[in-house]
Assembly symmetry: C2
DNA sequence: ATTAGCACTCGAGGTCAGAGAGTGCCAATA
DNA sequence: TATTGGCACTCTCTGACCTCGAGTGCTAAT
């Protein structure tokens, strides 16, 4: 059933006023904000119809109206004006990403922090990549008791490990280990590594010191890591600035829920169709999110790897501005990380750096 | 001034009862819990003396007594029984650390999460190491457009970066770059790298493609990273389960404060004397921590590197058990990470792994 | 179809009295 | 002299009750 033009305007006014003030909105307020040429009595009739249609509800008989999840849905789908980011906001995102992209190893956490500070809601960042394989091993001989394993992976990440030995090992052994691993352990996923393979590699290099095992467990570790999506929340404390979470029990419940990376990974399944996805209240699958809303945006990390960046807040969320901001972040990130993309405008290197680093200890 | 035996017992009883219940403690309760052979009237007299000495206070005239920060201080220093961890608790820590130590790259975060879940308070972890230098560069030639920089650092961490080039580069160039960097950029701290050095390196290898600059900025980046202590909070949401933070404004203020890594790094300065340090209420330097308590334990990460692990909570904190748990975690970690230490009992490898890895993208 | 008017509803916030917990003091006691 | 029972007093907490104001729903007039 189609809403009349006036109903649309009234619903919009109610939703936006409620988003702004967090107070139930009365007919008088609507009459004065949405400048339709009619009195509050007329608005009252319309409001009561909108309520019976399920778009609004009353906390109690003599209070103003509050949007229902369905009301928000209509608002998000049809009514809200697509928020235009101001030049400052766009610049802020652009500048921030340029800075952060220098250190790609903290990409996920930086983008999460950025989204949270920009929207003033807790933000989550999830980076999922298809299972990678190791495309190449290098063993760097340091001294008789030390070597470094460097593994380059199919998704163009590099991982390393420093190995200290209580016994001496020769360069030749390192050399042999390197060839065997490059011959047998590259291009395969974790489940394809069998104890049998390891034992035969051990025999092949004549290893009596367990070196093969060490390298193999490193390989298994990084392969299995590459299957687990990185996921974290940032700015969870911002939840407490929202009036709907002034009840510490509610706040605690939601915060505990979103602090668990496993719960966040469940959001991976959400299909954003490359754009922004809004999940309002009961539309969320997780019980704990049923009174809250989630806005998600997907970005392209190059290849098949996808990143998800999202924001959690009360159903009374500023959907328009949040969606615009997340969408902008996602878009700019995709541009910078996307595969065949041109060098991003802000990176003033002659070279396209697609790597980074990390520490170990 | 020395407290009488009986006063000590009474103070202890008040502190422990208050820690347990978060309710002001009355004379009657003390009379029944601390089994001194005297009536509540006697206790009342003693309580009022303890109050005038500054160890206890009353929220209002006719309420029970609550410990002052000074009262907690006496309790922590002299009265409390050193909590013995149960066998299960010890085992839990031990098992947990064994698991976590497999992936040393997430050491800080894992230890933080462990401390938080064990104590049920927010936990912070700070890992500080003295400025490191690069002890060795290896450049791995992948193909004409790609190479990996691997830098081994003086603190035995390894970092890497994958470099993609829009132009071709030869193995010989990689070779030359490697020697120049090993000759000129090892063993020095960040501030010793000058634009002049970079330019002269550029000339030495006859580099027209900016490769030298890329490697140098990588060096600068990892050297400056090594100076910044890693710091983070875990389980901040647990704050909300404490009655003293049911006021969302208080909770928000503290949470925001401890969510800022820079604030945490200030705690680095705290001297724990190798053991556990308790900071009660106003003993904290930071204004924001003045109504809260912090328990810190230091562990030895090998060499001069120190880790700090801590817990924040209300002044009404279970000091005894928290101190015992943190101390145990710190001790076990030091054993495993400490320099010349014997291989830790739980690590069932033949080899002592002192490395790990990390990803980039 | 719209509107003014009005009775009605309900929550927020204020006041008040009674209950309960705990104190401080005093006089009696060992 | 230290301890104790007794008792008046103080202060908070709770629930009952009230009023105020915002907002509704309905009706009759336009």
């Amino acid at each position: 059933m189609e809403l009349s033009e006036r109903k649309k305007k009234i619903l919009t006014a109610v939703v936006e006023e409620y988003i702004r003030t967090a107070e139930p909105v009365g007919s008088k307020t609507v009459a004065s904000t949405a400048k339709l040429g009619c009195s509050s009595a007329t608005i009252r009739n319309e409001l009561s119809e909108l309520a019976s249609m399920g778009y609004l509800e009353q906390p109690h008989t003599s209070a103003g109206r509050v949007p229902t999840p369905l009301g928000y849905r209509i608002y998000v789908n049809e009514l809200m004006e697509r928020h235009k980011l101001s030049l400052e906001e766009t610049e802020e995102i652009n500048r921030s990403l340029n800075e952060k992209l220098r250190e790609l190893d903290h990409l996920v956490s930086n983008v999460g922090a950025l989204a949270s500070s920009l929207t003033n809601y807790p933000a989550m960042a999830i980076a999922a990549s298809p299972p990678a394989t190791i495309s190449r091993f290098d063993l760097i001989y340091i001294d008789a008791n030390t070597f470094i394993i460097v593994a380059m992976m199919s998704n163009n990440t590099v991982r390393n490990k420093l190995v200290r030995l209580p016994v001496s090992v020769g360069q030749d052994m390192i050399q042999r280990l390197s060839s065997v691993f490059n011959a047998n352990f590259t291009g395969i996923t974790e489940d394809r590594i069998t104890p049998l393979m390891i034992r035969s590699a051990e025999r092949a290099v004549d290893d009596t010191m367990g070196l093969t095992g060490v390298i193999a467990s490193f390989a298994i570790e990084i392969l299995s890591d590459s299957q687990t999506a990185e996921a974290a929340v940032y700015g969870a404390n911002r939840l407490l600035s929202q009036p709907e979470y002034r009840d510490p029990d509610k706040a605690h419940a939601l915060m505990s829920y979103i602090s668990d990376a496993d719960h966040l990974r469940e959001l991976q399944l959400t299909d954003c169709g490359g754009g922004v996805r809004v999940l309002i209240g009961p539309e969320n699958v997780a019980e704990e999110l049923r009174d809250s809303s989630v806005v998600l945006a997907e970005y392209d990390m190059g290849g098949e790897a996808k990143g998800l960046i999202g924001v959690v807040g009360p159903t009374r969320m500023d959907y328009s501005s949040v969606a615009a901001k997340l969408s902008m972040i996602a878009e700019m990130l995709s541009m910078r990380l996307g595969n065949g993309a041109a060098p991003p405008p802000g990176l003033d290197n002659k070279l396209v750096i697609k790597g980074d680093s990390n520490e170990q200890q």
